[in-house]
């Protein structure tokens, strides 16, 4: 079990109904966490739509998580 801090932006913030949360989880990787949360919140995205940031840097979606990581799932961007 480890503690992970998650921040939500844009469509994921709307779909989740909160800005951030801290949770304890058994999963080991970012994509496993994504699937756990998708089940919980019924997010309208597939893994292919999403990028992952860990501690404010993009990481591969398969990246391992460690205690205290700050995770952001990034829905499709539309700046510019």
């Amino acid at each position: 079990m480890m503690t992970i801090h998650i921040t939500y932006f844009a469509a994921l913030r709307d779909a989740t109904g909160q800005t951030e949360e801290t949770l304890r989880t058994e999963v080991k990787t970012a994509n496993a966490l994504f699937h756990e949360l998708t089940t919980k919140y019924h997010w309208p995205f597939s893994e292919a739509d999403i990028q992952v940031a860990i501690n404010d840097r993009y990481q591969p979606v398969e990246a391992a998580l460690k205690e205290g990581d700050r995770v952001v799932f990034i829905p499709p961007v539309a700046g510019g």
């Binding site: 921040t7 932006f9 844009a10 469509a11 709307d14 779909a15 309208p44 739509d49 940031a53 404010d56 840097r57 993009y58 952001v72 990034i74 829905p75 499709p76 961007v77 539309a78 700046g79 510019g80």
Partner: protein
């Protein structure tokens, strides 16, 4: 008059350039009133600031490495924007113009692909949508409409 000659100075807001600078290309991205055939009344840009700044700086650094330019700069607006407002402004300065064109186009394309900024469109019919990407929105209409809510008229 769409072409003019003048003996008076031409002035823009760009200064502090290296004296080798011969060509400057800027890009302004503005909020337009139509997107994918829907009438837009305003926009909201939200950024993930820590990562957006990191990625933005990395894009400018890459442009300075990849193209023969003297300077590059970009600024992106956040918050609520009206039609005609500038969402993003980019400039590249180079000795020769070709490099400035290429660098500016690289920077806007890469910002759109990589920088974590999201755009919520507010439509005249009162609905709102988080846009997934430019020029591809209506091909995936069902997935796009992540959440629609009534928003008054506009």
């Amino acid at each position: 008059m769409n072409f003019q000659l003048t003996s008076q100075p031409i002035e823009t807001l760009i200064d502090s350039l290296h004296p080798h600078t011969g060509g400057i290309v800027t890009f302004e991205g503005r909020v337009r009133d139509i997107n994918e055939d829907r009438e837009v009344s305003s926009l909201e840009y939200v950024a993930y600031p820590e990562l957006a700044l990191h990625e933005g700086h990395a894009i400018i650094d890459q442009a300075l490495k990849q193209f023969d330019i003297l300077k590059a700069y970009a600024i992106h607006r956040t918050g609520h924007l009206e039609i005609g407002d500038i969402a993003v402004w980019i400039m590249s300065a180079a000795i020769h113009r070709q490099e400035a064109f290429e660098a500016t186009e690289y920077i806007i394309n890469t910002i759109k692909a990589r920088v974590p900024i999201w755009k919520k469109e507010h439509y005249r019919d009162g609905k709102t949508v988080w846009v997934r990407c430019d020029r591809c929105a209506h091909h995936h209409d069902h997935n796009h409409v992540v959440k629609e809510k009534s928003h008054g008229t506009g």
